[in-house]
Structures are given as C-alpha cells and as structure tokens.
C-alpha cells in the first residue's frame, strides 16, 4: 500500500467542522450505509470529482477538507433525486448546501463561475427585490470574464420582450433589504439556524 491514512487523527482534526456541517444541514453522516443509490441516479455525477456517496464517505472518515475542496458540492444541481430515493432519507442536497457555505468561509471555491452566478443573482434581489435577469446575466458575464457568452441569444429575447432593459423595483419600504441585513447580522453573531 502506497498511502496510509491515520483515521483516528483525521477524525479528531476535523471534528468541529463536521459537527458544524451536520448541525447546519440536519444530516447525520453516520446514517449513510453507502448503498450508492444516490450516485446511481445523480444526473450531475458525470461532472463530479467525487460521487455524492463518496462525499459522505469522506465525511464519515473525517476528511472534511477534501469534501470542501471538491467540485461536487458546487455542481450538485439540487434536483432532489438522491434525497427522494435514499433508503435512509439522508438529505444530501442540504448537506451539499452546508458544505458549500463552509467551503466559501474557508476560501475553497472549486467552481468560481457558479459562485459568481449566485452572488450576481442575490445582489440583484437585494437591490431591487426581484431578479433583473438581464442585469444579472451582464454582471455574470463581466465578472466571469466572458463578455460575449450567450450574446447571440440576447437579440431574439429582446425582440420577443423576454428581457427587460430596466429592472422592476418593488415598493416594499426596504423590507427585502432588511431581510438580507438581518440574516447577515444573525450570522455574524454566530447564530445557529
């Protein structure tokens, strides 16, 4: 055997991080008995470095850092197929969300463009209360350094009035902005939810 792994040591090292992920997601990784049904039906598995089953195995072995660095947690499409089929009802999509949030905190962003998309989307919601699809796509293209991505799709969409040049801004008296602010403040206070 070329590589040896001291499991007891890894388990201890990442225990706190694992506890946090389990609390945030409500998933206990011990529930999984590695049947692989999640991965057999996963429509995004072809684009993953670890299958969903392997991500859980990493966590069971205490190798949380490996899971945080994986592409899997970013390319999960949250289609809910695994969760629907899991005989142990392990909520894998929620687990992937929690891992993604920890990965961001730790500065591991294996899929930069997916992160840019999420941020472009939410900044639009925070600013206007609704997503301004055209503004969001332009922001995504600029930040991901692909200014002409899907540019050929834009003219027919504009002609068919499927893109609005100007955003729709809701008159909510700042309610949506305050939702963002309160959630942020809660997180800084180390609040669990």
């Amino acid at each position: 055997m070329k590589e040896r792994l001291e499991l007891a040591a890894t388990l201890n090292r990442d225990r706190e991080l694992l506890d946090r992920v389990q609390r945030a997601s409500g998933v206990s990784v011990k529930d999984c008995y590695q049947c692989g049904k999640c991965s057999a039906g996963c429509p995004a598995a072809f684009a993953m470095d670890y299958t969903p089953r392997q991500v859980i195995r990493l966590l069971q072995l205490g190798m949380v850092g490996e899971a945080l660095k994986s592409h899997t947690i970013w390319v999960c499409a949250h289609c809910q197929t695994c969760y629907t089929r899991c005989p142990k009802e392990v909520d894998l999509p929620r687990l992937m969300e929690a891992l993604r949030q920890e990965a961001k905190k730790a500065g591991f962003i294996a899929e930069k463009n997916i992160d840019i998309f999420d941020r472009a989307f939410l900044s639009s919601v925070e600013r206007y209360g609704r997503v301004h699809e055209m503004g969001m796509m332009i922001q995504f293209n600029l930040q991901s350094l692909q200014p002409f991505k899907d540019a050929l799709l834009a003219p027919p969409m504009l002609l068919n009035r499927k893109l609005n040049i100007l955003p729709e801004k809701i008159k909510d008296g700042g309610a949506v902005k305050r939702i963002f602010a309160k959630v942020r403040a809660g997180n800084q206070g180390g609040d669990e939810h």
Partner: protein
C-alpha cells in the same frame, strides 16, 4: 375560486408567455387570481446555496402577504413553488423557526395558507372534466412528452404533489385536451436548472439526454410547467443540436399554452410565437389551428 397569484421573476421576463397564458386560461375557467402586491423574489435558485435562513425568509414574506388576505397561493413556476413550500414546511415544523421568520420579514406569519402549483390547481381543483368541456380545438394528433422536471415533484415530503418517479398529472391534462401523451423515460430527469448559465457544458449534456429520449419516444414536442426547464429545453436547443450534431426540432410548450390553444385562443395572444423553437409549423401540420370552431363563435 380565488387565489393569491405569485408569478415570480421569470414570468415577468424570460417566461412572459407563461404569465400571459396562465392568466388567460385562469380567466377562461373562472379562476380569480389576486396578484400579491409588491411580491419579492423567492431566492431560487441561488439563496439556498448561500444561506438557509435567507432562502426561507424570502418566500415567507410572500406567503405572509397572501395569508393576510386569507388566500392560498397559486404558483406557476416550479422553482418558486418548491421554495414557497419549503418555507411553509419549515415554519410548520418548528415554532422557533416560524417566530424567527416572522421577525425577519417584520410581519405576522402563521403558516396557515398553502402554496399550490398552478398545474395542481388546474387539474385537481378546477378539474379535468371542466377543462375538457372548454376544448374547442382538440390537440388531435399531437404527440407530447410530458416533462415535469425536478422541483414540482421532489422532494415529495415538501411538494406533496403526484408521484416523484412517474407522475401523471400533465399526461392526464394532455389527454383531456385531445392530445397524446407518449410514455417516456425522462419525465423527472434534471435539466440542470440555473447551472446552464455558469456551466453551459453540463447543461447542454443534461438537456441533450432529455430531448433525445423525447425524440426516441416518438414525441413531436414537450410540455413543461417550469420557466427554468423551458429556458434550457427551448433556448439551449440550438446549442445542443450544434454540439451533438443532431437535428431535434422539438418545440416546447408551457401547459397553459396548450390549454389556451385548445380553448381556441390565438397562439400570439398566449405568447407562443416568442419561443426559440417555433411551435407554429407543428401546430399547423397537425391542423390544430385550422379547426373550424373558434373562440369568437363560442361567444
């Protein structure tokens, strides 16, 4: 029947035809829709990846606005429907969470009302019988692959709608409109949702699998209940054809568009000609639009 109406962001832009056709068929069937004033984005499909609480609070504000009027919420978009249901479930499961959400949205929220998929309301509240009696241009000869996608039926604990592996609601609706629902394997396969923007390579492969199966099953079009699915299957279809060197030519409809067409509305009033894959030649080839009865004659 009166419902609060939550169109969601897509229906005001890329899915404008879903909004047009949903409102038209609702009116036709005597369904009273009250659009939630100053509704906000539900956060799909980015908030849940960023913050769990944010992903519940954004939809909760809309639910609370409808709750004040004592109304259930009719939601055409499958992604919005899923998020609204998730917020509802979280507030019902935990009193602590309900209080927390009410505090964040600065509104009383008791989780007493429900989000309902527009498709669910049409088929299970209005009913197939009432729908059938309105058909003046039956979709005879139209072979349709009913595509449900993910978020309408999964996870079943949250959506509580139809079978997650082999749903039938859309198939039954197509049949009652006079069309033929083809049996096929990809009814609930994922189209990649919003991943098709940051990871177009992934999206194209996932969309290709769905369209290829529909074609092989003998379908000449698909029907969907989700704006994200529509964007991927319709807008990305030319990209799929180029990348995989195939000719698919499969128009995609919102179920509300097919209902409107069968009720005798002109396709342009429903927004149908706005699609990337033009569905009009197929409707003409099946002589659906040439059916002698028109809405005007129906009075």
């Amino acid at each position: 029947m009166r419902y609060a109406y939550y169109p969601g962001c897509s229906l005001h832009a890329t899915a404008i035809e879903y909004n047009l056709s949903a409102k038209a068929v609702a009116k036709h069937l005597g369904l009273d829709l009250w659009e939630i004033p100053e509704w906000n984005c539900c956060g799909a499909s980015a908030a849940h990846n960023t913050d769990h609480l944010l992903a519940l609070a954004l939809p909760a504000r809309n639910l609370a606005l409808a709750e004040k009027e004592g109304l259930d919420v009719a939601v055409p978009c499958a992604a919005c429907f899923n998020r609204l249901r998730a917020a509802e479930a979280a507030a019902r499961e935990s009193e602590k969470m309900r209080v927390r959400l009410a505090e964040i949205i600065e509104m009383d929220y008791r989780a007493s009302n429900r989000a309902r998929a527009f498709l669910d309301i049409m088929v299970n509240e209005v009913g197939l019988q009432a729908i059938e009696t309105m058909v003046v241009k039956p979709l005879t000869g139209l072979k349709v692959a009913a595509y449900y996608g993910c978020l309408l039926v999964r996870p079943p604990k949250i959506t509580a709608f139809d079978d997650p592996e082999d749903p039938q609601t859309l198939d039954k609706l197509i049949t009652s409109l006079g069309g033929t629902a083809v049996p096929w394997a990809c009814k609930t396969e994922c189209c990649s949702a919003s991943l098709s923007l940051p990871r177009t390579d992934m999206g194209l492969k996932m969309v290709y699998e769905i369209l290829r199966h529909a074609k092989e099953a003998g379908a000449d079009c698909l029907v969907t209940a989700c704006p994200l699915c529509m964007s991927n299957l319709d807008m990305r279809q030319a990209g799929v054809e180029a990348r995989y060197n195939v000719k698919l030519g499969l128009p995609v409809f919102y179920f509300t568009e097919l209902m409107g067409i069968a009720f005798g509305y002109a396709p342009k009033d429903l927004g149908v000609p706005r699609h990337f894959v033009n569905p009009i030649p197929l409707l003409e080839a099946r002589e659906i639009l040439r059916h002698p009865a028109t809405r005007r004659e129906q009075g």
